[in-house]
């Protein structure tokens, strides 16, 4: 069994497993539905998610503990994840393979030449880590002696500190003393600042933008699956549309097709996860290298080298993805995976230099307060940002969301959409609810999204908490916003047309929409002249009435000028005549000198803000289908007590304690 074939089997296995997890992420208990499939396993294995959230929330949440496994194995073996496990990498490798099948040997070699630009992904990684790390540093600077975790924290800090010192030492290329000071000075400044102000120093988790696992999940969930869904509602409850999906698709397909030009383009130049693994692989016990130098110098190994790490010369070990193609290609058996570094020389990492490192990290740190200076998280908050139920308050949310799209995938009504700029640049592709899309509103007994979120950006609510029962009865149900009626567009308010679709569909009990009756006078009724009338009918001069149009049971006839002003319900009408329901005839039939009004009975809706949970079913069902006449916005959402409309949500202004 050639090890290369094993690698191919492994790649195929994990790619199929990944796609399978994407397919089964639909509610249900059939074998091809959610059941207990661990659909977030790849996201949990992804150490960049774990590290990112560790920095931005100073916790390692639940399943993200899995991230330690690839880290430990990488420290021992090298970047096996990239070459053997990563499904995105497999896809790239496959397309790259298709692209170079017919190419000549020299062309293939040229395409796999090591390039300085492979350092870019490290810059991307440092930028993302910089953006995320504020929270951990603030936390560490605030930790006290009494905390039971103090011991672990100190130990961890000590170890990290030592590692950073070593790292710094190796990056330290020149003898200039001043340059050497930049690093420690930077950390000191950060600590000092952290103690004083939280405005300058904030975290934001942006790893999800380019981390391959969330990216691949996002692309499959929002583009590929909706496109291939056979339409018999097999893969999801309804045909899925996702706003702004074109951008996600473009990025995905660009990344995929770029492999035709340069194999594993994404892995080599963009992937921050690969960069992270590259850093971890420094001290690996086994590495690929030449057993003799000089070797036969045939350069066959470079022809199919996936990582562009140039095994033919000095191998850049941090770039090797352990595809082992070089081992397979070497005709003279002079390449091997062994303990000793390559006889032909080894370079540990692409040269990104101290300055590059510091600059990218500092820009990451600085970017966050810059993005938030507009007040988007405080006074300038966007009421159109309706987040899923169980979502954390916004700052905490942005520290956890990896934009994987799992919540969007599982949502049974398809209302969770990837955000555009509603949540600012930081919030691109984070979940936001759009009630015009999908098949209904946010179903008020559904707790799916939170249970599927791998980082707890959306908390897993219990059924009781969602509905506000038992232990949560005092808090009431979880609210994601409030519906507001646009009286200028609502049919009974502005158009004299009866409609109570919103009230009928309101799912909470008692309903959060109530109606008040209003009899609106129809315009043509002013000029009606009575010709003759009986106890149950009236005839008019001329043919003013629309025949048959007043028979729906909503129209009433009111007599003016007598003592009997009770509205009579119209049973039938012709062009010049109306008949009323027999239950309540006119004791004194209308006379020609009386006036008659035709009124339509409208039930005008009102929202009861003490009961409205913002589920959006009303907005979804509203027949004014463009800009809806009842729209939900984020006021009164449970996750932000400061946005409360009434007392129900205001009591605890310091609402969230992190675990």
């Amino acid at each position: 069994m050639s090890i290369l074939n094993v690698r191919r089997v492994s790649q195929g296995f994990f790619l199929l497993l990944f796609l399978w997890f994407c397919v089964v992420a639909a509610l249900g208990d059939a074998w091809w539905q959610l059941r207990g499939w661990p659909v977030n396993w790849f996201l949990e294995l992804d150490p960049l998610t774990g590290l990112g959230t560790l920095l931005s929330t100073h916790t390692l949440y639940n399943g993200l503990f899995w991230g330690l496994v690839p880290v430990i194995l990488t420290i021992l073996l090298g970047r096996f994840f990239c070459g053997w496990v990563c499904p995105f990498g497999t896809l790239h490798q496959f397309v790259g393979y298709l692209g170079r099948r017919r190419k000549a040997f020299t062309e293939k070699r040229m395409a796999n030449r090591y390039s300085r630009w492979q350092a870019v992904k490290y810059y991307i990684l440092f930028w993302m880590l910089g953006a995320a790390m504020a929270d951990l540093l603030v936390f560490l600077s605030g930790i006290s002696w009494n905390d039971p975790q103090f011991g672990w924290m100190t130990a961890a800090l000590f170890l990290i500190g030592s590692l950073l010192a070593v790292l710094f030492h190796t990056l330290y290329q020149e003898q200039k003393r001043f340059d050497a000071l930049i690093f420690p000075v930077f950390w000191v400044i950060l600590f000092v600042l952290a103690l004083k102000t939280t405005r300058i120093f904030q975290s934001s988790l942006q790893t999800g933008l380019l981390d391959p696992i969330p990216l691949f999940h996002r692309s499959v969930n929002l583009i590929l699956l909706p496109l291939v869904d056979p339409g018999r509602h097999t893969l999801s409850a309804a045909f899925r549309h996702y706003q702004g999906a074109w951008l996600i698709g473009t990025i995905f397909f660009t990344a995929v097709f770029l492999n035709l030009k340069s194999p594993r383009f994404y892995c080599r130049y963009v992937c921050p996860l690969g960069a992270l693994f590259g850093l971890f692989a420094r001290y690996s016990l086994g590495r690929i290298g030449k057993t003799q130098s000089p070797c036969a110098a045939c350069n066959m190994c470079d022809a199919d080298c996936e990582g562009a790490c140039s095994p033919a010369t000095s191998i850049v070990w941090g770039e090797c993805v352990l595809c082992l193609n070089c081992l397979g290609a070497c005709t003279t058996r002079q390449l091997a995976y062994r303990v000793r570094p390559s006889e032909g020389g080894e370079i540990l990492l692409p040269d990104f230099g101290r300055r590059g490192f510091v600059f990218s990290m500092v820009s990451g740190v600085a970017a966050v307060p810059l993005l938030r200076a507009g007040g988007g998280l405080s006074h300038g908050w966007n009421p159109a940002l309706v987040r899923p139920p169980g979502a954390l308050p916004e700052a905490a949310f942005l520290s956890r969301c990896i934009k994987c799209g799992q919540c969007m995938r599982i949502c049974p009504t398809g209302v969770i959409q990837p955000a555009g700029l509603e949540a600012g640049l930081e919030g691109v592709w984070t979940p936001v609810l759009d009630f015009r899309m999908g098949t209904s509103g946010c179903h008020h007994t559904c707790i799916a999204c939170g249970h599927l979120c791998p980082t707890a950006a959306i908390r897993a609510l219990s059924f009781d908490e969602r509905l506000g029962r038992n232990a949560y009865a005092k808090d009431g149900p979880v609210r994601i916003g409030t519906a507001f009626i646009d009286r200028g567009r609502c049919l009974p308010w502005a158009m004299d047309k009866p409609c109570i679709v919103c009230q009928e569909n309101c799912p909470v009990s008692p309903k959060a929409i109530f109606t008040r009756e209003y009899f609106s006078r129809l315009r043509f009724s002013e000029s009606l002249k009575i010709k003759k009338a009986g106890p149950l009918y009236v005839e008019f001069d001329g043919e003013r009435l629309p025949p048959g149009q007043l028979e729906t049971g909503d129209y009433y006839c009111i007599l003016r000028g007598t003592g009997d002003a009770d509205p009579r319900r119209i049973l039938k009408n012709g062009a010049d005549r109306i008949e009323i329901y027999p239950q309540n005839p006119w004791k004194k039939p209308p006379a020609p000198e009386n006036r008659v009004e035709i009124r339509i009975r409208l039930q005008q809706p009102y929202v009861d803000i003490d009961r409205c949970i913002g589920c959006g079913v009303c907005e979804h069902e509203c027949p004014v289908s463009g800009k809806r006449a009842i729209r939900v916005s984020a006021e009164n959402e449970s996750r932000h007590p400061k946005h409360a409309l009434t007392f129900a949500g205001t009591h605890d202004t310091h609402a969230f304690r992190k675990g």
Binding site: Y61, N62, L76, Y283, L285, T646, D652
Partner: protein, 333 residues
């Protein structure tokens, strides 16, 4: 040759062990980090409606035990003179302020209005009160309020800031760090709500000073409503339950004295007023230890009685004072 080979082997071994240790070290660091920060449960639900009552946290009782139950009404056009007469009738400022006391004056500086419009406490009255305090031997006098409009312009345009500083007091403008969440026991509204607490730290005596005003929502704004200026956060929401909040405020703080300025009460278009025609001349000053009684007296200046203001009844029922001012040591001048 052998020596070189041995050297190479040694070098290799050292290299290997060096890497081995570094690798082991990294693994240990990673595991420690992971374990140390491991959080299996994730962020918790924090009850918006606390199931257990948060621990009660109110201001200390600033009233002087020997000098309780006193109230007086003075008819005098000049404010400074009226204040002097009122304090005398209550037993002299010395009955309330001891030597070395640190005194805080809670004024009404809610709007950036000129003093003549009577929407805020009159600066002359503030200055006079400060002088009395110093005469009684006060160590320090602090003047504060959490205005509705911008604090700096409020204290400036009402004249209170300058009057206070000229008289030797210290003006404290509200800042976010000066607030802390406080809870009135048994309250439904003031639970963990930010209150302007810091300026009261180390204070021995508190004097509330407010003008008599009509108020569109509560009916009147007098000594009890004056404490609204201690609330922080988005306190506007309490306007939906204005009488309850005033009642809870009366339980939040018990002052040493209250001074109610009815020289030119605002009888209509309150609380901002804006026109001199909103005022009448009543030339009355009310002062005492019982804010409920003081408000009842103030109500008469608005041609109303205690029954017209539900919050007065609620405050009395809650034990903040009595509406029957005649049962107190009531002086009329």
């Amino acid at each position: 040759m052998q020596k070189i080979d041995k050297h190479i082997k040694e070098y290799d071994r050292r290299q290997f062990f060096s890497r081995f240790f570094k690798a082991g070290f990294s693994i240990a660091a990673a595991c420690t980090l992971g374990y140390g920060f491991y959080d299996p449960e994730g962020p918790h639900h924090a009850s918006r409606h606390l199931s257990a009552d948060p621990t009660a946290d109110v201001f200390p009782d600033f009233s002087v035990p020997e000098a309780r139950g006193r109230i007086c009404r003075v008819r005098e056009a000049d404010r400074a003179k009226a204040l002097g007469l009122a304090l005398e009738a209550l037993g002299g400022i010395g009955a309330f302020i001891r030597k070395g006391d640190r005194v805080l004056l809670k004024v009404n500086a809610a709007f950036a209005s000129p003093p003549v419009l009577s929407a805020t406490t009159h600066p002359l009255l503030v200055a006079e009160m400060i002088k009395h305090c110093f005469r009684a031997g006060a160590g320090e006098v602090v003047v504060t309020d959490n205005p509705i409009n911008d604090p700096r312009s409020c204290f400036l345009l009402t004249g209170i800031g300058k009057a206070a500083e000229d008289a030797g007091a210290r003006v404290v403008l509200p800042e976010e760090r000066l607030f802390k969440p406080m809870t009135v026991p048994g309250a439904a509204l003031i639970r963990n709500w930010p209150v302007l607490f810091e300026p009261f730290n180390g204070i021995d005596k508190v004097i509330g000073m407010a003008p008599v005003k009509d108020h569109h929502r509560s009916g009147a704004s007098m000594t009890l409503k004056n404490w609204y200026g201690l609330l922080g956060g988005r306190r506007n929401i309490f306007h939906q339950k204005i009488h309850d909040i005033i009642m809870e405020l009366s339980l939040l703080i018990r002052p040493t004295l209250v001074v109610l300025d009815g020289t030119t009460p605002m009888i209509t278009n309150g609380p901002t007023g804006g026109s001199l025609s909103d005022l009448v001349t009543a030339n009355t000053l009310i002062a005492g230890t019982d804010p409920v009684a003081a408000d009842v007296l103030g109500a008469t200046l608005l041609d109303k009685s205690a029954h017209d203001f539900p919050y007065i009844g609620k405050a009395e029922a809650a034990g903040a004072g009595t509406t029957d001012y005649r049962s107190l040591d009531f002086q009329e001048i």
